[in-house]
């Protein structure tokens, strides 16, 4: 199941996203949380330190929007780019699409 959380900046998306992710994880589900903000806010909300958050590699743009060159399997993708957080939610850090386009 793929769940998107959207809303104007400051409405509390990240706090709610972290709580949704933790709640699903507490129910025994495998949860993948994808942060699309250039600041690692979701990483903090999921319990990573700033240092740990900085170590989470950015997903390449080709993986985020898809242009056909992505050859990683989902398992490879998670092992190369995912960070397991204290709440057992796996975090991926996707780069900002607008920023990538502006290059």
């Amino acid at each position: 199941m793929k769940l998107g959380i959207v809303g104007k900046g400051g409405v509390g998306k990240t706090t709610l996203s972290a709580l949704f992710a933790q709640t699903y994880a507490a129910r025994g589900l495998r949860v993948l949380a994808i942060d699309t903000d250039s600041n690692p806010n979701l990483a903090h909300s999921l319990g990573l330190t700033t240092e740990q958050a900085d170590d989470v590699p950015l997903l390449p743009r080709s993986v985020v929007v898809g242009r056909g060159e992505g050859s990683l399997t989902p398992a490879e993708l998670l092992s190369q780019y995912g960070a397991v957080t204290p709440s057992s939610v796996t975090l991926l850090h996707a780069m900002r699409i607008t920023q990538a386009g502006a290059g």
């Binding site: 793929k2 998107g4 809303g7 949704f20 398992a75």
Partner: protein, 144 residues
Amino acid sequence: MRSILGAAIDEEADVTLVDMEAGLEHLSRSGGTLAYADVLLVVMEPSRKSILTAGRTIVLAEELGIPRVYGVGNKAQEGDEEFFREVCAEYNVPLAGIVPANVDVVEADRRGELLAPGEGLAVREAVVRILDFVDHALVGVGPS
């Protein structure tokens, strides 16, 4: 895989959750990150600006064909429940739930930390109700 949210990621995750940065680019027709979402939660607070953003987002999400688009009212104080109900009725989307304003959340934000266990209980209860709403809406759809 065509996109991070393409079908294949479901092999590795029961739930894939995307916290979208502010802005609507991710809902564009061409390869928007959320084009594959099963459920979109549009978070609002009791402010006209957040409601206007929500309205534009809901229109785009429906154009994209996201099958379930729900409103969530956050930071609710006395009287805001009715406000969020009216907004969702106006936009013709179900209201998945209302999350109360909470001092523990404000303080955790100030610290830049995780909400500690035992903190923000009313918020946690609201979150559980919202996920129950989502689960209920997905019943009959089968495992994604």
